[in-house]
Structures are given as C-alpha cells and as structure tokens.
C-alpha cells in the first residue's frame, strides 16, 4: 500500500487518533487486509502504539491481517438464519470451495467467513457476497451463486 494512500485516509479523519478504527476499516476496504507497513505507518504518524493497532486488528471481526478473497462470502449465523438451516448452507459452501470459515481459496478468488448476524433476518438463511445479499438460500442456490460469480470473473478477463 502506498504511503500517499495511507496519508489520504488519515487526512479524511483529520489524523484524529480517536478515529483510528475508521482508518483501519478504510485500509481494510481498500487492500482487503491490513498490511504490516500500513499499521506501522499509522502507529508512527498518530503516536498510537503498534500493539494497540494489532489488538484492534485481532479484536474486530471486520479486520483481517491476512488478505481476504476477491469475493468475500459472509454466511450469516444469526438466530433467525440458524433455525432456518444456516449450518447446512455453511456446510455446502465449505465443501464446494474446499475451505473452512476464515480461509480463502488458493487463488484468493473466494473467501469464507461466518458472521453473527447481518440484520436481514426476514430473508434467512442469508449469505452476503461483496456486500450483496442473497436471501432464502438453499444448498442448490449456493452452487448457482458461486457459478455466477466465477462466470462474471471470466467475462471480465476475456
């Protein structure tokens, strides 16, 4: 990540250190993870101990020290989704992608994560991919959904 980019994000928050979480989230959005050099830079410029930044990076679910997938899949495990079979949806995604929650596929194309509730409870079970919601999921719909994202990628590269 370029220093210029980090500086831009800091400026957005007037380099106010109480907004360091917002800055970390912006970096995460941009890079799909928190690069070590970005954390070091923030730490120095804001005079926030690096340990505090690592504490935050590991405390909050939305932050990651490892790159996430290009298509980051969030499987909602909220209560409403749970009683409507969210575990089955997760099983299916795990077996289709051959990864466990918290992992990414070797080509970094798909990442899988569970979330404790995305607040779209009426649509349960819900899967969120790149911010898009897929409601009333079933194992069959999982297949179709994955295919759609893979095909969209192919079209882009062609």
């Amino acid at each position: 990540m370029e220093v210029k980019e980090i500086e831009r994000i800091m400026e957005k928050y007037d380099a106010d250190r109480t907004d360091v979480l917002g800055m970390l989230m912006d970096i995460q959005e941009k890079e799909r993870y928190l690069p070590r050099e970005a954390l070091r830079h923030l730490s120095e410029k804001l005079s926030v101990p690096l340990t505090r930044l690592y504490n935050m990076a590991t405390f909050y679910e939305a932050l990651s020290l490892k790159p996430l997938g290009r298509h980051q899949i969030h499987v909602c495990m909220g209560t409403a989704c749970h009683v409507r079979g969210a575990a089955r949806i997760l099983d299916k995604l795990e077996s289709s992608l051959s990864i466990k929650p918290g992992e990414v596929t070797p080509d970094l194309n798909f990442g899988l994560k569970t979330v404790n509730c995305v607040g779209a409870c009426a649509l349960g079970p819900v899967v969120q991919v790149n911010g898009e919601y897929h409601g009333n999921m079933s194992a069959l719909k999982v297949e179709r959904m994955l295919k759609r994202y893979s095909e969209a990628d192919k079209e882009k590269t062609e």
């Binding site: 932050l63 209560t79 009426a122």
Partner: protein, 617 residues
C-alpha cells in the same frame, strides 16, 4: 439551502413544502430497505422511473424510494398513493402495468396483491393486510412515506416540530420532566427508565456532557434499529437533539455497526442536511443552543454494544467493557457524564415532546408505556418488523400478525432477548409481552428479536448455538465468562454428539451460576439464560439426548440418520447428483438408497427431494 434561523423560518419552509405537494397527485413508493433491496427492489424502482419518463409523466406522477415497510417476507413492496394500493413481490417487468393500469386508470392488478396464505383472501390496501392491520405503527409508520435521503419528506410529515416546540416553549427541565412522566423505558434491552438516566447525567457535576445513540444492534435476529436508521434517520436525530437539550450536552455520537452500510450512508446524509438547515451546529434555530453530532462505525464486535465498551470504542480504544463502579451516566466518554440510549428509544422522544406524556401513556400497560418494535422471524409465515403496544400477548403477535407457523408444523418456542434471553414454550403464549413479564419467564425483552421455532428445531441445539455465539463474542477479560461460556459450549456440544453423561445438566447449572455472578458486564451475567431457560422448559429434550442418545427434533447430526422411503422415491436422481459425499446410490427411475457410513447428514438430499421421500430418524 439556507440556514433556518428561527422556529418561524422552519414553519415557513414547511408550509412552502406542503404547498408544493399535491396530495391528490399519484405517488408510487418502492421500498428500498435492505430486505427488499436483496430482492432487487432497486431494479423495480429504476423500471418504474423509466416507465414514468418514457410516458411523459414526469412531474405528474411522483416516485419515491422509501425505507423498510416491515413486511420483508413479501418484498419488493410497492405502494401506490393516494389509493394505498399495495403490491407484493413486484418484478421490474410489472412496472409497465403498474403505471398504465393502476396509476393512470385506477385499476387494481390482481396478480400483484397480497394473498393470505391461510384464507386465500386478497387485500388491496396496505393497511387492510392482517400483518399491518393488527399493528400500531407509531414509530415505524413514517418509514413507508419518507425518502430517507430527502429531509423535505420528513419536514412534510411534521419533522422537527418537536424540536421547535422544545426550543421555543420549553426549558431543558420541562423536556426532561416530560420524558420522565412518559415513563419511557430503554428499548435496547434492560428497560431502564430513560428519563431517570437523563436526569443522572444532567445533574452530574461536570459541565461537559455527551449523548450517544447506540446503533450497534448486535442481537442476532433483531434488525429494527437498522430499519429505523435506514428509513427515518431524522427521527432518531431529532430525538437525540432533544435529549442533548434536556441533558445539557453539546456533543453527540452515533455508534453504528459497519454491517449496516446503508444506515451509515443515510445517517451521514441526514446529519449533513440537518447541519445545512441549522438544526445541528451552533445556535440551533436561533435559540442559542449548540449541539453537533459525529458518526462512528463499529467493526464487528458484539460486546462493543455494551455501554462502557461502546464508550471505549468511541474514544479510539478497543471496544471492551470496563468495570462500572461509577456508571457511564456519571463517568463515561473521557470521564465525562454520558447518556446512552438505543436507536428506538431516541426515536420515541420527538413524539413524546410533540404530543405529550399523556398521549404516550395512553398506549401500553401499567409499567410499560408506548409501543415496541419486534423483528418477527424464523418459522413464521409473515416475517418482518412488527410494532405493537407494550403488553400485547405473544399469541396475537405470532398468529394474528405473523400468520402462524408455515406448513403443518407445530409451534415449539419463541426466543426473545437475543443471547441474553431465553426460549418461551407454548403454555405461556398468552403472556403480555413487556419488560417485566418476559423477565419472569426467564427471558428478556432485549432489543426485540422474536425468533419462532417449530417442532423441527432442537432446543439443545439452540442452547448450543447461543453458547457458541457467546464464547466467540466474549472479550475474555473475565475468567468466569471466558471459561464459563467455553465449558458450557463443550458440554452442550458433547450432549448433541451423543456423548452426554449423567450429571452434565447439574454441572451446566453450576457453571451457569458462576458465570452469571462473577462477570463484569451483561454479556457474561446473562450468558447462561439460553441454557437455563431451555433447561427449565425443555429438560426432557436434554434427557433424551443424554439417556437415550436420541434427538427428538432430528437435528443433531450424530444422533440421526437419513433414509429414503422406497415407496415415495421415483428415482429421479436429484439427491444422487447433489450429494457432496457420493453416499447415494441407485439406478435412475428406481428407488435410491443412502450409505449411512458415507453420509455427512448435510441434509441436501432432503432439501432437493421433490417428493419428500428423504426422512431423518
């Protein structure tokens, strides 16, 4: 837009807006809340816009994208005014008919009407639909009429009238007194009287004070705060400004979870608009009162919704709870007195100030006034957001509004209060829902999640589910919570795997007691509720798992096996094709069989079977 420098200028602007609006002019509203959005309501909106402009109707027909109407089950929802004709599950292809028939010719399109799944009756007007008819939508009601990104819509419905009234006619003490008289109880969970909390902060000796909107709605299964912030952000802001006036705070914060991007967007816009209009900032409406608001995003940590943790998070620390020897009302943000209320609580305030405590007290029961929004989800026909007077019986919510349980299934329990709450069985369905009665039943109100479970849900599995949630979300500061939730989870997991032992239930109760009594914050002190309430009402299910190694609801994978009924199976091969383990064999057009040693009990075969031939035993 120029600043409004007095209450008179606000009323003048309102009059101008109302004059511009012709109530007879047709208006098509499309729900763009998160639920409908997931069903591509934006495409429906775009198709309607296209249809209106291509027919040269721009300026003659209004189109409005609104917040959540609440009936998420039936999305995308489109309502056409002035007739209030409600269409459900609308697709972009329907746009042409809606404009040509309903808007221009006043004809109702039968295929788009809501049809009651039980009676088969169709309804034209939104307010006639049983789901809406049985509600009392004081707080949520404006959502369907407002474009949340347009402050004029809020003005048109009387927005910021309460603020104008307070600044012009009331002292801060009067505002505080009104909220106290209304006996408004905190909608975030505990039900603590908001007015009493406000007074504590107001009377605290420090001059610098803060007010906070807690929009870190973390209870799984609850999303009313999201819908309010997304659909009517000015209502929440107005409540906050009134609170700041009463308490004497010059600075406020909204802490909103990053999982709600649309709420962040609409709220940010609302704050900007309020600033431009002089409703936030210095000398609000020329009254001399200064107040500003900042928005802070959370990053996915359930415990950060706890008041002291939330305060830490806003300060830029890690969002972990602190010991509360002195509570946040006296020593909160940077050690200053800080009043924190949840989104729905703040949204009640403008109504109380504008219409008075007496009006507010006319709804609800003895100790619980006003309405409460619930998210009615899980195994119920009409899922969505439901607002009813406090004290409405559970049965009315589930049957009359929710339309009962889908299929021929039997109701088993309703879970309220999120991970701090409990499961309530059928014999208590006539209980009036309020803060106190739910507590008596071993559950709690929480932020209003109401998850319905039927006979296919295993209560041990549900307890395990919550314990998994809590052990994940425990910040780890207190040993009792960190270890207690983990050990309870392990015991529950063993029970669901058929490895439960005699004495497990007693051990669970013992750990529950310690976790409850030795943890700093509410996450730990209420962590045992899901276990204790299911043990209280469904002990037989636990015992079946432990003694007979049997899961009566046929959920726990280790205790069931799937078989295919050869009488029902027509050999279509769907299950075989979709089985991820290759455990299903058989020739096409003859009954399939499942090899139990290969089967992972994922249930996909049951899901894809069109004849219901796969059963669990």
């Amino acid at each position: 837009m120029s600043r409004l420098n007095s209450v008179g200028e606000l009323e003048k602007l309102r009059a101008e807006i109302l004059e511009k609006r012709d109530s007879g002019r047709p208006c098509i509203t499309t729900c763009l809340g998160t639920g409908c959005h997931a069903y591509a309501s934006q495409d429906v909106y775009n198709a309607l816009a296209e249809e209106i402009s291509s027919r040269g109707l721009t300026g003659k027909v209004d189109l409005r994208g609104t917040g959540c109407h609440g009936f998420c089950e039936q999305g995308p929802i489109v309502v056409i005014f002035p007739g209030e004709i409600c269409y459900c599950r609308v697709q972009p292809e329907d746009a042409a008919d809606i404009v040509a028939l309903t808007v221009l010719e006043n004809k109702v399109i039968d295929r788009l009407l809501y049809e009651d799944p039980v009676s088969g009756q169709k309804y034209e007007r939104e307010s006639e639909i049983p789901f809406y008819k049985n509600q009392d939508r004081l707080i949520l009601g404006q959502n369907r009429l407002i474009d949340p990104q347009n402050i004029e819509d809020y003005f048109a419905l009387g927005g910021y009238k309460a603020l104008a009234k307070a600044l012009a006619e009331m002292t801060p003490e009067d505002v505080l007194e009104e909220v106290k008289k209304a006996n408004l109880r905190g909608r975030g969970g505990g039900g603590f009287p908001a007015g009493v909390k406000w007074e504590t902060t107001r009377q605290a000796p420090e001059k610098e004070k803060y007010v906070i909107v807690n929009a870190d709605e973390g209870d799984p299964g609850a999303y009313m705060d999201r819908s309010l912030l997304e659909g009517n952000p000015h209502l929440v802001l107005e409540g906050l400004i009134l609170g700041a006036y009463a308490i004497g705070a010059a600075k406020g914060f909204v802490y909103v979870r990053q999982e709600y991007p649309l709420a962040v967007k609409n709220l940010t816009l609302a704050v900007q608009q309020a600033e431009e209009h002089g409703l936030l900032g210095d000398d609000i409406l020329g009254s001399g009162f200064d107040f500003s608001v900042s928005i802070k995003r959370g990053a996915g940590a359930f415990v950060s919704g706890e008041s002291s943790a939330l305060v830490s998070a806003i300060e830029g620390q890690v969002g972990e709870p602190r010991p509360k020897h002195i509570n946040t009302a006296i020593s909160g943000l940077w050690g200053k007195p800080t009043n924190l209320n949840n989104v729905e609580t703040w949204a009640n305030v403008p109504y109380i100030i504008e219409r008075g405590a007496g009006w507010f007290n006319s709804t609800g029961n003895e100790q619980n006034k006003g309405t409460k929004i619930f998210s009615l989800v899980g195994k119920v026909n009409n899922t969505g957001l439901v607002e009813v007077p406090m004290g409405t019986p559970l049965r009315k919510i589930i049957d009359d509004i929710g339309g009962g349980i889908p299929g021929d299934k039997r109701f088993k329990a309703v879970q309220t209060g999120g991970p701090s709450g409990g499961c309530i069985p059928e014999q208590y369905l006539d209980t009036p829902v309020d803060f106190d009665r739910l507590k008596e039943l071993g559950s709690m109100m929480g932020s209003g999640g109401m998850i319905i479970m039927d006979e296919d849900n295993c209560m041990v599995d549900v307890a395990k589910y919550f314990m998994h949630f809590l052990k994940d979300e425990s910040c780890g500061k207190c040993t009792s919570c960190r270890e207690g939730t983990k050990r309870m989870y392990e015991i529950l997991d063993a029970i669901t795997r058929g490895e439960g032992r005699e004495g497990d239930l007693e051990l669970l109760e013992e750990i529950a007691w310690v976790t409850e009594n030795a943890s700093l914050c509410a996450l730990g002190s209420t962590a045992a509720n899901p276990v204790l309430s299911t043990l209280r009402y469904f002990r037989d299910e636990y015992e079946a798992h432990i003694k007979e190694k049997r899961c009566p609801a046929k959920v726990c994978k280790a205790l069931i096996r799937f078989t295919i009924d050869p009488e029902k199976c027509d050999g279509c091969g769907r299950c075989k094709r979709n089985c991820p383990e290759g455990a299903i064999t058989g020739e096409l057009k003859s009954p399939m069989t499942i090899d139990s040693s290969l089967c992972s009990r994922c249930g996909i075969c049951r899901e894809v079977c069109h004849l219901d031939a796969v059963t669990a035993e």
